[in-house]
Assembly symmetry: C2
Homo-oligomer: 314 residues x 2
């Protein structure tokens, strides 16, 4: 059961309180793929320019990621982002964005990528997301991410894209913006009712606070793994998505039960917590499966309590 | 085992997306006391003006709260706050603050209040907190809250006050401000080491995201209870503190184990979620113990997952 991810492959120049790093490998599809590779075979579909290095492709290949659908555009330049984080790492400023080859991106999927039964549509123009989604009509699980730009500039297309997928993964502020509802829970409930049974899973990413899961069966919330030091939050959301979708893909013999989705949330959360410990993809490149399993166990310890049944004073 | 709370008793005029309410009963000590009254006898110490009504005292009396240390200042006016919340209820603007009798507040504790073995020092000037704390040298559990104002204007006094208590309950942004640490977890760990064994419990309030608990034994995080509609967030933090400290007071025959603290967090979280469902104290006034127990059980359902033990692809 392989996973296809369509999205950006980028160079990121990032300044955080812990230093500055120039032209690191980044992009949503990359962060997603590296995380998902701990669970399943992953195929990356996305464009790069002539400036894109073999070393960067090797980072993905070393994790078993199939890069044969990474399209090198002659004369083009790889998507570039430069940003700076504030002292508490919760605010960030974009200093430069050069779309490069990402501007005219038309995803081209090989037969192998079309045969994947799990698809992740990273944050790209929603009409492109719909186009790709239509090419995998039999995919067993399709998730998509988006951003405020598309909510503002292409809301109708985005709503259609969401209605064609199984799972929406979005920042909580974007869920608010998309629905006009102040309560994340109410926002998610509304989206679940747009076009039942699609989507049937809503994940609200909450940054340093963790993530919440809303389905027709229930509600689940998981904090971020507590860290003494966050070095670089770039890509945390896509790494979370890679862990979440990757875990589901590895268990697609099972129904997408509430329990399975919760375990997937825990794996996504663990992966994201490793991602932010070092710049770019540094930490995930040297991560082991055993470390992920251990962190999922710790997350469980950090969230369990027994409910006392004693009566209270009325 | 009774609880003494020292803090503000107020009139609040509040505008939220769901309407405006004029001169509602409010104040940290009031919200705390009403919540804690579900677990233990509570004594309120705080000043009111001549404008303070018998009806407002009855709201507390009806929940069994002892108001004999509520001091009525002749010719004085009760603390007044007016504020307006933004559409998503996470930002608020203070439009008016009239300290009134709260300005020269010198807490006077009756022998019964001095005999309490649990003390909550709501947000007041830290030297006053220290003065009260010194009057209850044998209290079994002392918790305090504070705010950004005192971190800026009286940091040294606040640090001394914190070192004399068992438990610090603070907003996460204030924990950052107090320590200069970006990570809430690192901030809490630092405060635990200021003057061991005091404080030994740190609670980070995270607003709509819930709350986290940091002790020398462990870390625990609990989301806020998911609500479709938040009507008025005023007093949620103090209501949380009332449920948390109240639960601990009701179990002060036990050691303050990690498990007991986690259950207390769940009860505080449940109480806070009721508080925000209606304006002011309206919801808590008609709340039943059974509703709290049911919501704690739901919180448990919303946070549990099983940790799969299978190996991952390295």
């Amino acid at each position: 059961m392989s996973i296809t991810v369509v999205g950006s492959i980028a160079y990121d120049t990032v300044t955080t309180p812990f230093g500055e790093r120039d032209r690191m490998l980044g992009g949503a599809a990359v962060h997603f793929a590296l995380a998902a590779s701990f669970f399943e075979e992953v195929r990356v579909v996305g464009p790069v320019g002539e400036d894109f290095g073999e070393h960067e492709l090797d980072v993905m290949r070393n994790r078993g990621v199939d890069v044969s659908d990474v399209e090198r555009i002659p004369g083009g330049k790889t998507f570039f982002w430069r940003g700076k984080y504030g002292w508490d790492l919760n605010s960030r400023e974009t200093l430069d964005t050069q779309l490069g080859v990402f501007e005219g991106f038309q995803p081209k999927l090989s037969q192998a990528s079309l045969d994947s039964d799990v698809l992740f549509l990273a944050n790209i123009q929603p009409d492109l997301q719909r186009d790709v989604r239509a090419q995998l009509p039999n995919a067993r699980f399709v998730a998509l991410d988006s951003m405020n730009l598309w909510i503002e500039a292409a809301r109708d297309s985005l709503v259609k894209a969401i209605k064609e997928c199984d799972c929406l993964i979005l920042n909580d502020s974007e869920l608010r913006q998309l629905t006009g509802k102040a309560s994340i829970y109410a926002a998610a409930r509304e989206i679940l009712e747009w076009s039942p049974p699609h989507p049937r899973v809503i994940v609200a990413k909450q940054g340093e606070y963790g993530a919440a899961l809303v389905t027709n069966e229930g509600f689940f919330s998981l904090p971020a793994f507590p860290l003494e030091r966050v070095v670089d939050p770039t890509g945390a959301g896509d790494t979370f998505a890679g862990g979440f979708v990757g875990y589901l893909a590895a268990h697609s013999d099972q129904e997408y039960s509430e329990e399975l989705l919760r375990q997937a949330m825990a794996h996504g959360t663990a992966l994201a917590s490793f991602n932010v410990e070092e710049f770019g993809t540094d930490r995930i490149e040297k991560l082991s499966g055993g470390e992920i399993v251990a962190r999922v166990r710790q997350l469980r310890e950090f969230t369990q309590f027994s409910a006392a049944a004693e009566p209270l004073r009325d």
